[in-house]
């Protein structure tokens, strides 16, 4: 396992990142792209972090239909690929009349980028804030209510308790926005705003390819991720300081009417901007006749296949690492943990660029093959799979294994009928999430896809660049339909697998 991680993660990244020092490449320009990206990221985080923390607080403490709708909206925003969101809005502003308006001009400039970034960053901020708040104690809030603390001091106490969650959400929003590639790739040259990830892509797409220049930009991207990642970790530790062994999570209760209405309005706003309007635009444009035969006809099934195989491999790697940790191989799992955490700081674009450099030689001539694309997907998604399975595997009681052995149950029975059934639901959620992430993945696909085997994300963005929105909308909707079909199939499978067995009469 360590050898595989060294080969497919450490070696390629090292190879790419040392290039500027070996080639004597001077400091690349692109400082405007870095500065603008950083400013946009911080600006996005300033909006998304407080909103995300408030959404997190609301969805963890409130009961009722609005809280459920807010949770669903956050997940919908999280799962919607950023380039599909952008495509939907580009379709709306593709008409001359709307494009010439103030809104249209704003969309194709900084305003549009900010709007799209905030919509994509909000669920990240909210979900990490939820994880921080999940360990929050209800005692301070209850004590404030019992002692009749006035409104403003009560809000101040609440904000102090919310601060760690907001800070973590801020850091994550900055990192995710800096690393975001789908939005600038789809808007591309139309936005006229220099963006760091798009600049990296342009260095890799020019002739001759400027790997050293791209590497310098990658260093800047990783540096920002490291700084804000450290901030996130420090904030998490600060939040942990107020946890103790006797704390109780707050009980869910129906919120006050005014508060519920406010969150209903916010939920509707984000649902409209992030899901309903762009998907409706895709749907309407998809109904228009195509100018030629459907391009990239195999992209949907091909990407679905990559998603399924890639998710299996990613979850396999994750489960193996978690098993090794549980078995007490501490040194190796510590090394693996560091590698995987570092992998999260390295965006897919950088990982894919490193693969172009590392696997285009006589020893490992993998560049241009589907195998390398699959490995790239697995390396990029393994950390996500690890985090999704960690809680479920940690909850498995090790005494189950001992009890199974004592009762003489075969290994297969233990794996399938005991551990398998306990893990089937978290495994299915993780599998679907990772499969969807791979199916709609863009940066790794853009750089590593073998000619003639265009992945779905690349096909959609290419058609957007040619303004063939009808074809790109159809592909997008077919893709969403295919993933929904996979989800239904797996849900049916889980229902069958997890159904209780009838006892046979004696």
């Amino acid at each position: 396992m360590a050898g595989l991680i060294a080969t497919f993660f450490v070696y390629p990244l090292l190879r790419l990142l040392v290039m500027p020092f070996l080639s004597g490449h001077g400091a690349a320009g692109d400082w405007p792209a870095f500065a603008v990206s950083l400013l946009l990221s911080v600006g996005t985080a300033i909006v998304a972090a407080p909103l995300g923390a408030l959404f997190a607080l609301f969805t963890t403490t409130a009961a009722g239909p609005v809280a459920r709708a807010a949770t669903l909206t956050l997940w919908g925003l999280f799962l919607t690929p950023s380039y599909m969101l952008t495509t939907g809005w580009m379709i709306i502003f593709s008409g001359h009349a709307l494009r010439a308006t103030l809104a249209g001009q704003a969309f194709f400039g900084v305003g549009g980028l900010l709007m799209l970034y905030v919509v994509k960053a909000l669920p990240f901020s909210a979900l990490v804030a939820r994880a921080t708040l999940a360990a929050a104690d209800s005692a301070p809030a209850e004590a404030a209510a019992i002692h009749g603390v006035p409104f403003i001091p009560r809000v101040r106490i609440g904000l102090r308790l919310l601060a760690p969650a907001m800070a973590v959400g801020f850091a994550i929003a900055v990192i995710e926005t800096m690393q975001e590639f789908g939005i600038p790739a789809t808007l591309g040259v139309t936005s006229h705003v220099p963006i760091l990830t798009y600049a990296i892509y342009q260095h890799l797409a020019e002739t001759p390819t400027d790997f050293a220049g791209a590497s310098i930009l990658c260093w800047r991207l990783i540096a920002v991720a490291a700084v804000f990642g450290g901030l996130a970790m420090a904030c998490r530790r600060q939040g942990a300081a107020i946890q103790h062994g006797r704390m109780r999570p707050p009980a869910r209760q129906r919120p006050a009417r005014r508060r519920e209405l406010a969150f209903a309005a916010l939920t509707c706003l984000f649902a409209l901007v992030g899901i309903v309007i762009p998907v409706a635009a895709l749907f309407v444009r998809a109904l228009q006749p195509l100018t030629a035969s459907m391009p990239h006809p195999g992209a949907v099934l091909r990407s679905l296949g990559f998603g399924m195989v890639g998710a299996t491999m990613s979850l396999g790697v994750a489960v193996l690492i978690l098993r090794l940790r549980a078995a007490g191989a501490r040194r190796m799992t510590a090394v693996l943990d560091v590698a995987l955490v570092a992998n999260m700081a390295v965006p897919g674009l950088v990982l894919a660029a490193s693969y172009i450099v590392a696997f285009n030689n006589d020893l490992l001539p993998l560049y241009g093959t589907r195998l390398l694309l699959l490995i790239g997907y697995t390396a990029g998604m393994a950390p996500l799979a690890l985090r999704m399975m960690q809680g479920a595997l940690d909850d498995l009681d090790p005494n189950l294994v001992a009890a199974a052995r004592l009762h003489g149950l075969p290994r297969l029975t233990r794996l399938v009928d005991i551990e398998g059934m306990l893990l089937i639901r978290p495994f299915t959620y993780a599998y679907l999430l990772v499969a969807a992430a791979i199916m709609f993945e863009l940066p790794v696909s853009e750089l590593l896809y073998p000619p003639g085997a265009t992945p779905l994300g690349v096909a959609i963005v290419t058609l957007d660049q040619m303004s063939d929105y009808a074809a790109s909308a159809r592909l997008a909707l077919f893709g969403l339909g295919a993933m929904a079909g996979l989800a239904l199939l797996l849900a049916a499978g889980v229902a069958l697998l997890a159904a209780p067995r009838r006892l046979r009469p004696a």
């Binding site: 001359h96 040259v189 006229h192 798009y198 600049a199 020019e206 002739t207 001759p208 400027d210 006589d362």
Partner: protein, 340 residues
Amino acid sequence: MRRVIAAGFGVAIIIIAAVLLWPAPARGLVLYAALDYAPAIGKAFTKKTGIPVRVIRLSTGALLARITAEGHHPDWDIGWFDGATAAVSLDTAGLLAHGLRPPVPLTATGRSMLPPDGAYIPTGFTLAGVFVMNKASTLKPPKTWNDLTAPLYHGVVGMNDPAISGPTYPALAGMLKQAGGWPQGKGFVAALKANGLQVFAKNDATLAALRNGTIKLAIVQSSAAVNVARNIDHHLTVIYPRPAYVLPNVIVLPKGLHGRALREAKAFIAFVESPAGQAIRKREGEGDSYYWPVTALPAPRHALPPLTTLDLATLDAARWGAREKTVLAWFAHAIDGAGS
């Protein structure tokens, strides 16, 4: 039952993985092509010679990026795209075979496109940049490139991004050359920008902007212009500027190609240049079929004007190919504003 379902899932994943990763059938030739008639040519060549041809169609920009990224471990045997300057860039990077000779006699125009080191073979040419307008437009049609800086064209002119659209760099190079070369010609392009020049990704996006009224004059490759005016939107008309810069479509071979693969690749080039091959290109192509041949036969498609009515100019492919990276970086920074 549980084990059956679990086993079934495992088998399904293995089958999907096998289908995805199954090695492509061996050999024959692998053709990276940016021209729409390439699949038809590949099929016809296979039928005639029995040599299998796997055609990978990419846009010019993506094709060049792919060839560059593969570097000295090419997965391709033949590259076929628009732009001698792009071929020079690849040659400068040491990626191309040398010593290619045309298999048939070329016209004088065709011979003028041949490189001294034989790094590429011209197979025809289009024009790097022509003007497209609506027939009913009240805008006075421009005749020369300098006309575009006039106030009446403020904010209504659009062109492709040369960093994305491979055939657009020669159009940009032509604009720079007619304005004094490099770096003197920067002033002209900057004047276009000051006059409201809009930049779109590729031919299709620029023409879409023209048709939806975002712009009133599009600068695109002649083949795309003629195709849209003839077959898609009859309200549009093509205007050939003075001068109009020649854009060869070229075939290149990777450095190190030898033995049987080299012989088969040369046979493919000969087929492309033959009357039978060119008839297929004219018949089966869409926009790309609107090209002028570099051989005496056959004649170009009727929609194209006779060359004697055009003010043609050529670019020094070696000189402009060598400065492509510098020019594109300047354009991205000074004109485009996106990325680097």
